[in-house]
């Protein structure tokens, strides 16, 4: 297993509103994400899912508390140490965040050119192998604007996997994709995680489908977090906001399951 574990200890994060008041996003939350497993972070809009990812990456700083990635407290480290820690991460952004002015090949080769001392030939071999695995061979000279939504995500995934990350973060990875493509993308995640063995954190609205991948589920609500050791256990929660969340996001699937139970 390659992955690193993550631990939040009493983390607080709030933002200043236009009227001068503060909006609390995370209110002294404590949880840990086990190494090498897949954890799904779910919750409604504006509940702080993407903020949680940015805090893990050190792109945003917590108001208080500690965030451990392996042995490193990301709230304390800065500069080169933080930069080195970030090389352990791979991130697939909501819109894939491919560089518009670069081709698919250049996008995927970018981390190898910038972060390794590999020769251009070695880079070419590695990039083309990755593109072949992700069924993007033949599209390497296209620009992101010429790709479909699913192809963009696959190119983003190829780029994120180049430095062999120990933690993969997926921010709403299937937004804007049709159900078939969504299923394919999730299968791809499961497959790559099996191959690389990274710790996987998925932020998603696409609850029923993503739960097939999850080892653990974290539900964010009004600054608090509820951690469930399995996707199935979420339906047995007696908390009213969780029941409401189950009803609105999982709909028929779990409700029919409940009737059977």
């Amino acid at each position: 297993m390659n992955g690193l574990g993550i631990e939040f200890k009493g983390v607080e994060k709030s933002f200043l509103r236009e009227d001068g008041s503060r909006q609390v996003i995370l209110n002294r939350v404590n949880f840990s994400i086990p190494a090498g497993k897949t954890t799904v972070i779910a919750g409604g809009s504006g509940q702080g899912k993407s903020v949680t990812l940015k805090l893990i990456l050190g792109l945003m700083h917590a108001d208080s508390g500690q965030i451990f990635v392996g042995e490193n407290d990301t709230t304390k480290i800065r500069g080169r140490k933080l930069k080195d820690l970030r090389t352990k991460f791979g991130v697939l952004f909501q819109g894939a965040a491919l560089f518009d002015s670069m081709t698919v090949y250049e996008n995927v080769a970018l981390p190898l050119r910038e972060r390794t001392k590999k020769t251009e030939l070695e880079i070419k071999n590695q990039v083309l192998t990755s593109l072949e695995q992700l069924e993007l061979l033949g599209h390497e000279n296209k620009f992101p604007a010429q790709l479909s939504g699913g192809m963009k995500k696959r190119a983003g995934l190829a780029r994120a996997l180049q430095l062999k990350p120990e933690i993969m973060l997926f921010d709403e990875p299937t937004t804007g994709l049709d159900p078939v493509m969504t299923q394919e993308i999730y299968q791809l995640f499961a497959q790559t995680q099996k191959q690389v063995g990274y710790t996987s954190i998925i932020v998603s609205h696409d609850i029923p489908k993503v739960f097939n991948l999850a080892d653990e589920v974290i539900v964010l609500n009004n600054g608090k977090m509820d951690v469930f050791s399995s996707p199935e256990s979420i339906q047995w929660s007696e908390k009213s906001h969780i029941q409401k969340f189950v009803k609105t996001t999982m709909g028929e699937i779990y409700q029919s399951h409940l009737v059977e139970q």
């Binding site: 200043l16 236009e18 009227d19 001068g20 940015k54 990456l57 792109l59 930069k83 080195d84 970030r86 090389t87 991460f89 791979g90 991130v91 952004f93 909501q94 819109g95 965040a97 491919l98 560089f99 518009d100 970018l110 981390p111 910038e114 972060r115 780029r159 430095l163």
Partner: protein
């Protein structure tokens, strides 16, 4: 009601101070990025082409028209005192010390500054800047600092071009159209323009280059945290307008300050 006004005022004040502090740190990061290795020579060349070569046409026409207007206006004023022979020195001093650096900077801010701001703003809202951070690639070294270096090379050269074309424009208007003696035009220029005047214009063009890149890229880079900018495409258009207005005003303010200090 009164309390709300005080809260809003305090909040606005805090926001301005935060914004200034953020921009100060940002300027230091751009300067640091110029010295980080590996240096991106290809990006510097791309920016030189965009900021420098791409601005040649607009600078040429602005300089030619400014020089010709100066030639005509100068002749009209000097003719009243029978001092047409001073036209060369009047046109050249005005262009080298003031109009050359200022108008070049305003043209570059409008043409290249707005594009730099929009490019960074779009990269920010589409998470491309975050993607660079996540790959541990320094965005300053990678694509912001080369813009500063390119502007520091391009703007003084464009200013020099502006001065030359402007003086030629003044010559055409003054000598060919109004009949000023060509010898006195160049002699007046040669006897009145000193190295100090050229240095003043050059220092201004360097300072204006820094101001344009700093303000224009900064507004785009911080599009997501600028108070009242909103979100998405509208926020980019809003900060792009802000960037051009702020950089133009800053150029005019610094023009006065530098003239007052260095003259």
């Amino acid at each position: 009601m009164q309390q709300n006004t005080i809260i809003r005022l305090g909040s606005s004040g805090l926001s301005v101070v935060t914004d200034l502090g953020r921009m100060g740190v940002y300027l230091l990061q751009i300067i640091q990025g110029c010295f980080r290795r590996p240096f991106r020579f290809s990006e510097l060349m791309r920016q030189l082409n965009f900021i420098g070569a791409g601005s040649l046409v607009v600078i040429f026409f602005t300089a030619a028209s400014t020089g010709m207007v100066l030639g005509l206006q100068g002749y009209y004023s000097l003719h009243k005192f029978g001092a047409e022979g001073m036209l060369g020195s009047a046109v050249s001093l005005t262009l080298i010390m003031e109009l050359g650096p200022v108008l070049t900077a305003l043209m570059v801010a409008g043409r290249a500054g707005s594009a730099m701001c929009a490019e960074l703003g779009i990269m920010r809202i589409s998470e491309q800047v975050d993607a660079l951070d996540c790959m541990a690639i320094d965005p300053f070294r990678y694509f912001i600092s080369p813009k500063l270096l390119a502007a520091l090379i391009s703007v003084p050269l464009l200013t020099a071009l502006f001065d030359v074309v402007g003086i030629a424009g003044g010559y055409v208007a003054g000598v060919h159209l109004m009949g000023v003696n060509p010898g006195s035009y160049f002699d007046g220029m040669q006897s009145s323009v000193t190295n100090h005047d050229i240095m003043l214009g050059t220092v201004k063009s360097f300072v204006f280059a820094v101001l344009i890149v700093w303000i224009c890229t900064g507004r785009g880079y911080f599009v997501h945290v600028i108070r009242g900018a909103g979100f998405g495409a509208r926020s980019v258009s809003k900060v792009t307008t802000q960037a051009v207005v702020l950089s133009s005003i800053s150029v005019l303010i610094f023009d006065y300050l530098l003239t007052a200090i260095l003259i």
